[in-house]
């Protein structure tokens, strides 16, 4: 664990891998240290944003260093089945890149349990990690200027669902009828860190 200060309003905790990030986030999310106002899990880091009027980075760093995490432990945000129509514009490319073919991509995507690791890029955009790396693909070399809302996509070790129409460089493999971001819902994000997701063919 490395503690990297960001000004005096943020502490970036760098960890070995995503499992360690999720294990630490799981310990802190329900009872964050005094003065911590935001927790932002990411691929290898957990950002703690603090209110400098209520605490300081030294104190928060001390608390974080003393947390005993349980290896492999993840925040529990429940389970969800996400129906997907596998008709994405990049499905054939992903089949070639992975050597799995189009059917193989669908089978690999539906066969494993995915976990929402963190959100970013846009409100409600969850980065989901699977249990094997068969679907690890690069981003498109040229991002699209317009990716339709609710597109299901792959990039790097992650899969995700675009919460609204936006530019994007992920490889599109399908679309879902679920709405990942809805302000009328509480919380508005469907794909919260720790949620376990199964994709099923619609």
């Amino acid at each position: 664990m490395r503690l990297l200060p960001c000004g005096d309003s943020g502490l970036l905790v760098e960890l070995a891998d995503l499992d360690e990030v999720l294990a630490l986030y799981a310990e802190l999310v329900d009872d964050p240290p005094e003065g911590v106002i935001d927790l932002v899990p990411a691929a290898r880091t957990l950002m703690l944003r603090i209110d400098p009027a209520r605490t300081d980075l030294t104190r928060v760093g001390r608390v974080v260093s003393s947390v005993e995490t349980r290896p492999g432990h993840r925040p529990d945000a429940g389970r969800l089945e996400v129906p997907v129509t596998y008709d994405g514009a990049d499905l054939a490319d992903v089949g070639r890149l992975t050597g799995l073919g189009e059917r193989g991509v669908v089978e690999a995507h539906t066969a494993q349990e995915w976990t929402v690791a963190f959100c970013g890029f846009a409100p409600g955009f969850g980065y989901l990690v699977g249990t094997d790396d068969r679907l690890t693909v690069p981003r498109r070399s040229v991002p699209r200027t317009r990716v339709p809302s609710r597109s299901v996509a792959l990039a790097g070790e992650f899969t995700g669902v675009y919460p609204r129409e936006s530019p994007g460089g992920w490889q599109l493999i399908g679309h879902t009828t679920l709405q990942p971001w809805d302000l009328e819902r509480d919380p508005p994000a469907l794909l919260l860190p720790g949620l376990r997701v199964r994709f099923v063919e619609a």
Binding site: C6, P123, A189
Partner: protein, 305 residues
């Protein structure tokens, strides 16, 4: 009219937008605590200016006001109301009468308020006693321009309901303030979480030469032009959390100074972070203004200049 923000009470008090200038948004203290959902803080770019305006009107400091970018706003009062302008000082006219910035002003029913361009600085705050009473979205009335949360930027014809208040008037009607600086500005930085991703030459250049604020700047961040900041390593940084004031360096080597609507996470290394006390001054920099950075050690940065 694109979107009706008027309370459906004919006796209510509201502002009608005649012209929104370059960019006018509703801002308050933002949406802290939702980073795990991918939602940033947003809120006023110059928080002390917003807080001051609200205090002088007897509002809670968290009340929503209008953040006006480079003046140009024109509004009509429907129902009398008390207002004040803080932040970048503009010429303020009520009908044909000139009034001052940083002074409490009564807008009678039917009066038109016009803002000229600011003498210095970029962002002015027009606050109204009672606050701008648009609906809350995730606990805030602010517009997050990156996440597209909250009310859309104002357009001509918008109607902004004004809240009611019975709070006591503070009894202060003008205050001495430090106006945003014209000319070159010095901002204090501390080493960022990824300072070690850069060459010693880059870390030295950051604090020894001028950076100019480019026209490609907005509430997300100010893009700066100056000495190229070269990296000491070429690997890709895994996405990580960002803070306001971060100087993030994309492959071009030209830094972006993150402001209120910065992305929650980013994939480029942060070489340095502007200390929180200096971020409001950074938010007042205009395109063309030059900035120098001076490195301070962690732990001294909370004190205001």
């Amino acid at each position: 009219m694109d979107h009706d923000r008027q309370a459906h009470d004919p006796s209510s008090t509201w502002l009608e937008v005649i012209s929104s200038g370059v960019l006018t948004t509703v801002q308050d203290l933002g949406r802290p605590g939702l980073g795990a959902l991918g939602v940033g803080y947003s809120g006023a770019a110059d928080v002390p200016a917003l807080r001051l305006a609200n205090r002088l009107l007897g509002n809670p400091e968290s009340a929503a006001a209008l953040e006006v970018t480079f003046g140009g706003l024109e509004v009509v009062a429907h129902g009398g109301m008390t207002v004040i302008l803080t932040g970048a000082p503009c010429r303020v006219a009520v009908d044909d009468r000139q009034v001052g910035a940083y002074a409490v002003v009564w807008l009678p029913d039917g009066a038109t308020l016009r803002l000229g361009p600011p003498h210095s600085g970029l962002r002015s705050y027009l606050a109204v006693r009672g606050g701008i009473d648009v609906p809350l979205v995730l606990g805030s009335r602010c517009t997050d321009t990156l996440a597209a949360l909250g009310p859309a930027p104002l357009v001509a014809g918008d109607r902004l309901p004004i809240g009611r208040t019975t709070a006591a008037h503070p009894g202060v009607d003008v205050v001495p303030v430090q106006v945003p600086e014209a000319g070159d500005v010095m901002l204090r930085v501390v080493d960022g979480p990824r300072a070690d991703w850069f060459t010693d030459a880059a870390r030295a250049a950051l604090v020894s030469d001028f950076y100019e604020v480019t026209a490609d700047s907005n509430r997300v961040g100010s893009r700066l032009a100056g000495p190229t900041l070269d990296r000491a390593r070429d690997d890709e940084l895994p996405t990580e959390g960002m803070v306001c004031g971060a100087l993030q360096v994309p492959p071009s080597g030209q830094p972006t100074l993150f402001l209120a609507d910065h992305p929650v996470t980013g994939g480029y290394p942060v070489i340095a972070v502007v200390v929180p006390a200096d971020v409001p001054r950074a938010a007042q920099l205009r395109p063309g203004q030059r900035v120098t950075f001076t490195r301070v050690s962690t732990g001294t940065q909370s004190r205001s200049m």
